[in-house]
Subunit: 338 residues, 2 copies
């Protein structure tokens, strides 16, 4: 029926415990024995039972990816990260559970316990804005659950992966300035996301560098959604001196801006330059194609997961890894009119 550890032990002529040691890559096994055991495992097609390992030991070879889908409607950003997490899992024989969490209420504590206590989850990958949920982090530490974060707001002593979003945003805005734009609007994201803060800071610093004033009127709050981009754009269009360019804090909102521009009879990029952030697939599917910053989401998911698995293996590693971004200059930005 099922090949068990004991079967491998018998076939190799060693004790079950020795096979267990080989399985868990414990050092105290002679090279010769290890080879024989590994060969037997392979030829017998032995596959250890996660349930048994989870029961007897404390590991489960399972990690969870936590995300907040209340604030993140079916975003391709999360889907990409998930793909990256699964990439890393596959090459390391781990499995992943996807776990949407609503940060509101105490429900998420219950769900977290269900994961950690019940399923013996080995570790979790945190996505924004869960990377900075105070109760969440406290609970994880309490249960001693390893975790890696993607783009955490507070990065001090945190394991994970990030991007220099501030610098990327500044470069993007500098590009607009270089095109002759002087009135540049900005639509921010949800305040609790670090991304909102960094991108705004980048925007402001680029203006300052160019010797332009930062006029609060030109900064309108958004919520990372298409609809909020439309609304914010309308607000900017209604200003006495409407901006000749708008930097939206993500692609969804930038798409909203382009939509609103179309509806208002403004031609992009002739009358208005628009740029976003993230480089989701949508960016190249808009007309004109959207100028934006490419964020390697899948790669970030993969790296964060590798870091998590490294920590589970006891490797002491660097903390936050920074991945490179790329400016994608496309048709939605052009020289300022007049």
């Amino acid at each position: 029926m099922r090949v068990r550890l004991e079967d491998v032990a018998r076939a190799t002529g060693v004790s079950p415990k020795t096979v267990s040691r080989v399985l868990n890559e414990e050092p105290s096994v002679s090279a010769a024995t290890r080879q024989r055991v590994l060969a037997a495992m392979k030829s017998m097609n032995y596959r250890p039972s996660p349930a048994a390992r989870g029961l007897a030991g404390n590991r489960s070879l399972l990690i969870a990816m936590l995300y907040d889908n209340s604030n993140n409607p079916a975003s391709t950003y999360l889907a990409e990260i998930q793909n990256g997490v699964l990439d890393a899992c596959e090459t390391n024989r781990y499995s992943m559970m996807a776990c949407p969490l609503r940060m509101l209420g105490k429900d998420f504590i219950r769900r977290l316990d269900a994961l950690v206590v019940d399923h013996h989850i080995d570790g979790v990958v945190l996505t924004p804005p869960l990377t900075d949920g105070r109760k969440l982090l406290a609970r994880l530490r309490e249960h001693k659950v390893a975790h890696a974060s993607i783009c955490p707001l507070h990065s001090k002593g945190v394991l994970g992966v990030c991007m220099d979003e501030t610098r990327a945003a500044a470069e993007l805005v500098a590009h607009l300035v270089g095109l002759g734009h002087r009135r540049i609007g900005h639509i921010t994201g949800i305040a609790s996301h670090g991304a909102s803060r960094w991108r705004r800071i980048g925007y402001e610093s680029a203006l300052a560098t160019a010797g332009l004033v930062v006029d609060p009127q030109y900064i309108v709050p958004g919520e990372f959604t298409f609809g909020s981009g439309v609304a914010a754009a309308r607000q900017l269009f209604a200003l006495p001196q409407r901006p000749s360019a708008i930097f939206a804090a993500n692609d969804d909102m930038a798409a909203g801006v382009m939509w609103a521009a179309n509806a208002a009879g403004l031609a992009v990029p002739r009358d208005l330059s628009v740029c976003g952030f993230d480089d989701t697939p949508m960016a190249t599917q808009l007309w004109p194609p959207l100028t934006t910053v490419h964020q390697p989401s899948r790669e970030m998911g993969r790296i964060a997961t590798l870091q998590l698995l490294g920590q589970l293996r006891g490797l002491d590693q660097g903390q936050l890894v920074q991945v490179p971004y790329t400016l994608q200059l496309r048709g939605s930005t052009a020289a300022a009119p007049g």
Copy 2:
């Protein structure tokens, strides 16, 4: 430390087996005993160990959602289904593992075994095109793993959920005919997806009903991707008599058509009407907003999962459930020119 089943038994004054029976909702327990046990479980905050249950029994309270991400760049569809699956899991105290599978190669057999054998997966939710992977289905039956399908191509005797895509497509094309269009192009999807077949049949039947000929020149193959939509549209534009309307088999390709139209200097809907299928978020984010068919993906994921869980509980239920669609008539379609 941890509250175990035995602790509950002791507190209630019954045997562990009786508590186990209550836990598994077996009928052979007196109502009075059941109440006492349930009360104790609650007050003691008892949480059964999935690992132990998986080891001893054969259930794991875990299901897997299988999808093919090599062929499915339109990940928002899958993400929505995943949300629906998780909705159903949450209310039924099940957990879900996301499992991307590449249908090519024998790799997926190994991965399937890893899920089913190793993790004692209770059941799987299948998404297109995995719903019709012959080896996959054979393997599932061999392992006696319950499964529910979403939009399977071959629906005979299959548990799952579907939509009358043929009729929806026909209605959509009839809408175009009603607007005066006579040359209507169609871009198909990947052949292995039932969706491609059904939508094409709907297209052809609507033309036939309207007394229009089905001209093969006007039917161009696509791959459900934005890029393939662009390419197919260019092909249609190059025809001696280019179509005045194009029905793309999904929204991504429709977006590609609109992109190509823009690039070719054709105004939508003045010069060209465009419609898609699925009603992904993108549909309302294009300009003009895309006429399409709303497919309740999240709800379909939820229903398929509920059916799966029902089957796991031994409920004998109807086979394929049909969910209703809705035509979304928006700005991308208008009266035929001239």
